[in-house]
């Protein structure tokens, strides 16, 4: 999936996260993660994000994440929502989202 425009999903409320995606000027994939629980869960969150992006076949883009202690299921949902919005994707392949 190709990110063709900047997009935003999620909120900054507790137990949620905000995900911003933007096209990458040099066609690289960069994930910037900030989290209130980065020390304990940084690696875990990063794994969930990377896995979610890989299943959506996102190969390039700037992904900025502000995590407020969200569960894995919320992380997946918000990353997917931001990517689908940024890719202007109308047809959803649910198999890739589960």
């Amino acid at each position: 999936m190709k990110i063709i425009k900047p997009a935003l999903a999620g909120t900054l409320e507790s137990s949620d996260l905000q995900v911003k995606v933007a096209p990458s000027p040099d066609d690289t994939l960069e994930v910037v993660l900030s989290s209130e629980v980065i020390k304990q869960f940084g690696q875990q969150i990063r794994r969930v994000v990377d896995d979610t992006l890989a299943r959506l076949e996102v190969k390039a883009g700037l992904i900025i994440i502000e995590d407020k202690g969200a569960l894995d299921c919320a992380i997946r949902a918000r990353v997917q929502a931001a990517v689908l919005r940024g890719a202007a994707c109308e047809h959803i392949d649910w198999e890739k989202l589960s």
């Binding site: 900047p6 997009a7 935003l8 900054l12 905000q18 911003k20 900030s34 900025i64």
Partner: protein, 350 residues
Amino acid sequence: MSETMEFDTVSPASQPEALAAIRQLLADCQLELDSKIDVFVVVYRQGSLIACAGLSGNIIKCVAIAPQWRGESLSLQLVNEVVQIAAERGHFHLFLYTKPENQRFFTGCGFYTLVEVPGHVVLMENTPVGIQHYCQRLRMLRQPSNKTGCIVMNANPFTLGHRYLAEQAAAACDWLHVFVVREDVSFFPYAQRYELVTQGLGGIPNLTVHHGSEYMISRATFPSYFLKDKGIVDSCHTAIDLLLFRDYIAPALGISHRFIGTEPFCPVTNKYNEDMKQWLQHAHCPAPAIEVVELSRHVRNGQPVSASRVRRLLSRQDFNAIQALVPPSTLQLLLSEYAAEPAPALERYG
């Protein structure tokens, strides 16, 4: 409880009647109503206004919450809402001005401090990598040089004065970086100004012309620069703009000298030049000091050459007088795009 609070938006242009309450709330919080707000996010409780946040382009300002409703929950919802509204309007990269004491709260909302004028104001942006990425790109354009100069010009339009300044600066340095102010609020659109600078500086071997950015004399870093006509100069804003230059842009390119023309006419530019010496050179700051070099204006026919003079002559369609002040590339553009009559042959102005 949040269920009793109602969020809405107010567009100052189409709902002037709703502004009275906003103005009052801002006044209660020692803030002024900014005339450039495109849209306000407002929060009502039982019919009365308890919070607001304004959006001016991609800049969040005029954020106020009635004292009895301050607290993480409402402020967070307010910021969240304004960020969403900005996204709907196509603004994803946001700037925010706030008082230094609110910095921590906004950090929790995904905003990152760019610069602080201690005790006065903080400029933040909503990305942890915005200016870092910008500086990375600048670093790739760095040149081997012991003495590296910089000029930031609006070039509205490019004149022989700009050419003279750049020639002098380039001669005094190993390499010169020229930035063109990117904000599109001047008489001449950015694309034209950039083009004229590139053409007008042709033949000077040791310089690079750069596109300007939001981090340099933009509506975000320096709102009052674009209110020149009103003669308003806010020294906090010049400090913000200049500290951004000293802390981020100059180190990325290794800039050690900044060149400016003396400005006898324009109070804003004049004040800016004075502030430049203070913030780039004298102010205590972890980033290295930058020497500010003032060069006196290029004079033609006994009068200093300035872009504002060219614009005045253009409004009178006095191309004969303009011809003496601008290089051929600028003259050609003025004739082809801005002449009231069908463009006379360029040869007439040799």
